[in-house]
């Protein structure tokens, strides 16, 4: 047994033991608040220890990898590059959300709602997610996966008396079970081919190469449902808005990334990968990215909007993976490194800024009691720092320099150009199409976040807010995430180094030239710093001008009007209307304008609504069709137990007959 991880080994195990121990106070202590605070604190310690041990492992301590780092004296758990990287993401995002828990769940305690079970499920969710990425045994993987899905489902039911919660969580429940079923087939096929349950043994030989298309499709559909690629995304905008904020932040930031983890893991099994797999991922991803952000633009519910942005970002990650697949199929490590590097770094980045945005929206939801953007406004006067933190997240997610979203998208763009350069023929033209597509996505994302930032934070208040309270825990957790956005944006070198190490451990040959490290990262740091410096200089210049010439103030969006009321402000739907009308068949975008042109005008109104195409045109009709087919065999349903016994007997006879023929 290779115990090359010994110094970190004890730390690793103790971190998990402490995380498990966090459940104990919840079962012992009667007092709801005391139990929750203690258990959350223990959980936090466990997570911090886990992060320290992950950071001290080989991935981050700048040593070379050996491929079989095992834990707990068995090879059921393996810490290789990919697993450690995702473990790092999970723990990094979990720590701020757990800190945020302190203030967020306090609201529920004030409402006299029991949160013990929620906290228990949350702890189980965190632990099982970490086990998913560490598991090296198919059954252990599937069990952790199932525990992860189900604990998230049970956590979602915190406000179970609401109808929307029941509906949304049901979507999640069905989607999770569908994909687990597909994964069962996937792993049993792999087991059948290799006669092993260990993930590290799954290397297909030449004899089984014909199975690659089937395995790839199974994996892409199965893990794709979890990740939320476009045709399989239908559960995501239903489930994310209704979950408690801490859970939806974790769901959107981390859990959908386990789907990405699965696809990347599959890539390691299925070498050599045919090139069409890469193209398939690329096309599906670009569609997810474009329509994800377009749907987001049409939403009024802040959490639903962010959920659609998750689909967009999963699409961007998928684009990187697609480029990596194409590079692998053409045996060009340069492209492979850029594609997978961009995807992996964007996974980390998205986990950070999406949690930041979700937690920020949670603060607003707690204070305003609504998730509807149209009812918000002028919040910058209530919470200046929250607005700044939210703005940082918004800039990062739109891929604008100087924050982290830009870095990973930059790598993916470089991947496109590199592909066009290395593979001549028709590739440059196709790559140009994808570049335009990705740029278009960026543009729409900017439009969308301009919309929510301006409507939510600027202008005047549309709804009376009595007091706007933000606790210190909120600021700490949001601050950590915003700081990470800034650090990765301004100084990406260490993170690039980590990603490069992950890729050289299991993706490409370790000695192949690294296109990632060869990029000129120092100039990015310098350019970003000078942008920042310029902004600061301009700000001080503005201050000086104000001081010298005075400052004229008036209400926001007033546009020259004198007595402006909140109703006269620009609304979110009117902002996005122009853009949403273009693809209105796919967005199912409809407007209801009710304006009368009579002499004495009646009150006029405007409404816009968009519903999900896949959900409304494919999933729900398919579901009712299934119901119709099943109702056809309802004649078998009897009231009397004796009929069922007879059915059992008939089945026994059929089985025996088959077995008899078999012998």
């Amino acid at each position: 047994m290779n115990n090359s991880l010994i110094p970190g080994n004890y730390l690793f195990i103790s971190a998990f033991v402490i995380q498990f121990l966090a459940i104990v106070p919840l079962t012992i202590l009667k007092n709801e608040k005391k139990a929750f605070v203690i258990s959350n604190f223990i959980l936090l310690i466990g997570l911090v220890l886990g992060l320290i041990s992950t950071l001290s492992s080989k991935l981050f301590s700048f040593a070379s990898f050996s491929s079989n780092d095992t834990l707990l004296f068995s090879n059921w758990i393996r810490l290789d590059g990919l697993g450690l990287y995702f473990l790092f993401i999970i723990q990094l995002v979990a720590i701020p959300t757990v800190i945020y828990n302190f203030s967020y769940l306090q609201h529920y305690i004030d409402q006299k709602r029991s949160i013990k079970s929620f906290v228990t499920f949350y702890i189980i969710l965190l632990i099982s997610t970490q086990f998913v990425v560490m598991a090296n045994q198919a059954i252990l993987f599937l069990v952790s996966w199932e525990v992860m899905s189900m604990s998230a489902y049970l956590g979602m039911l915190l406000e179970k008396e609401k109808e929307e919660v029941q509906k949304g969580s049901f979507y999640y429940f069905v989607a999770s079970h569908l994909l687990v079923f597909i994964l069962y087939i996937f792993f049993f096929l792999l087991h059948h081919q290799t006669n092993s349950w260990l993930l590290s043994d799954y290397h297909l030989t030449a004899a089984t190469i014909s199975l690659i298309p089937i395995l790839f499709i199974l994996s892409f559909v199965g893990f794709g449902i979890k990740a939320g690629f476009m045709p399989f995304h239908f559960w995501l905008p239903q489930a994310h808005p209704i979950a408690p904020t801490v859970l939806s932040a974790f769901l959107s930031g981390v859990i959908i990334k386990t789907g990405i983890y699965g696809i990347l893991r599959t890539f390691q099994f299925l070498k050599p990968i045919p090139e069409w797999c890469g193209w398939l991922i690329l096309v599906v991803s670009i569609f997810s990215a474009i329509f994800g952000v377009w749907y987001a633009l049409a939403q009024h519910d802040i959490k639903r909007l962010l959920a659609y942005h998750s689909i967009e970002n999963i699409g961007i990650i998928g684009i990187g993976i697609g480029i990596g697949f194409i590079g692998s199929a053409n045996n060009l490590p340069v492209i492979e490194v850029l594609g997978f590097g961009g995807a992996l770094l964007h996974t980390l980045n998205h986990a950070i800024f999406k949690s930041l945005l979700f937690l920020g929206s949670g603060v607003i939801y707690q204070n305003l009691g609504t998730r509807n953007i149209e009812l918000m406004g002028g919040l910058v006067h209530r919470a200046k720092y929250l607005a700044i933190l939210f703005l940082i997240g918004s800039i990062a997610i739109s891929g604008i320099p100087p924050f982290n979203g830009f870095i990973s998208e930059f790598i993916i763009y470089t991947g496109f150009f590199q592909t066009a350069k290395e593979l001549k023929n028709y590739y440059p033209l196709l790559m140009l199409l994808f570049v335009v597509g990705l740029a278009f996505v960026g543009g729409l994302a900017v439009a969308c976040f301009t919309k929510i930032n301006s409507i939510m934070f600027l202008g005047t208040e549309r709804k009376e807010v009595k007091h706007f309270h933000i606790s210190v825990f909120d600021y700490i957790s949001l601050g950590i995430l915003a700081l990470l956005c800034i650090v990765i944006g301004f100084y990406p070198q260490p993170f690039i180094g980590i990603v490069n190490k992950v890729i050289s451990n299991g993706f490409v040959a370790a000695n192949s030239p690294s296109a990632l490290l060869n990029m000129n990262w120092l100039s990015i740091t310098i350019i970003f710093s000078s942008i920042l410096f310029g902004v600061i200089v301009l700000y001080f210049a503005k201050m000086q001008i104000h001081k010298r010439y005075g400052r004229r103030t008036s209400a926001a969006w007033s546009c020259g009007y004198e007595n402006q009321s909140p109703r006269m402000q620009y609304t979110a739907s009117s902002f996005a209307d122009e853009l949403n009308t273009i693809p209105k068949t796919i967005l199912l975008y409809n407007k209801k304008v009710d304006s009368s042109k009579r002499v004495i005008p009646k009150p006029s109104s405007f409404e816009s609504h968009s519903s999900d195409f896949v959900d409304n045109k494919i999933v729900l009709p398919g579901y009712s069709l299934l119901g119709k087919i099943i109702s056809k065999i309802e004649f078998l349903s009897r009231t009397d137990i004796r009929y069922y016994i007879a059915f059992i007997l008939v089945m026994i006879i059929i089985y025996s007959f088959i077995a008899f023929l078999w012998i």
Partner: protein
């Protein structure tokens, strides 16, 4: 010796398929309990071992004394009519049973040529399983269903002894416990149902459907 006892077991199945009194079922259950205990005690008699006796003794206690007494108690307590309510004629039922047994014995004989098994205990056990299901299918009374279920369990037991010469102790004890719990639960269920529904037909249970 085991073959002779198995054939006696089969004869008891014929009796149970022709009798029309609930009491007959209880008697058959007792007889089957004795037969089963004898079948599993035989290998342990000559090189006598006390451990070999424990299981047959438990079996005897449960199957011959406890369960029949409990069923009798239910019959007395609830004042159930003493005849079963068949849904087909007794004679056609007997024909069905005989036909089934013929098929099973022939099939077992063919099977025994390719695999190693004791044909007669195997076929008797299998017949008891199927006939237990028949009894549940073609009788209307709930208490008879309990008896049918117990016959099915006896069949599984005999089947097990035929397939493996020595079943692990834990499995056998598990079977016993299983039976005991089932009878217990059904007794409780019948008690409850009789107070609420005022009848013992399974047809009345249909009204409980969701």
């Amino acid at each position: 010796m085991g073959n002779v006892l198995s054939i006696l077991f089969c004869l008891s199945l014929f009796y149970v398929s022709i009798t029309s009194r609930v009491k007959g079922y209880v008697t058959v259950l007792q007889i089957q309990g004795v037969l089963l205990s004898l079948i599993i005690v035989i290998p342990f008699i000559y090189p006598f071992s006390i451990y070999g006796i424990i299981l047959p003794a438990t079996l005897l206690l449960v199957k011959v004394f406890l369960i029949p007494r409990y069923i009798n108690k239910i019959i007395l307590d609830l004042d159930i009519r003493r005849v079963i309510d068949p849904t087909i004629q007794q004679f056609s039922f007997l024909l069905l049973v005989i036909a089934t047994m013929v098929v099973i014995f022939v099939v077992s004989n063919i099977l025994s040529q390719s695999t190693e098994l004791n044909v007669i205990p195997f076929a008797s056990g299998f017949s008891a399983i199927v006939i237990g299901i028949y009894i549940i299918m073609f009788r209307r009374k709930l208490i008879v269903h309990v008896a049918g279920f117990l016959i099915l369990e006896n069949g599984i037991f005999l089947f097990g002894t035929a397939v493996a010469s020595e079943l692990p102790m834990m499995i056998e004890l598990g079977t016993l416990l299983d039976v005991f719990v089932v009878v217990f639960l059904m007794g409780i269920a019948i008690n409850k149902i009789s107070t609420t529904l005022d009848g013992f037909d399974v047809t009345a249970l249909g009204r409980l459907k969701d």
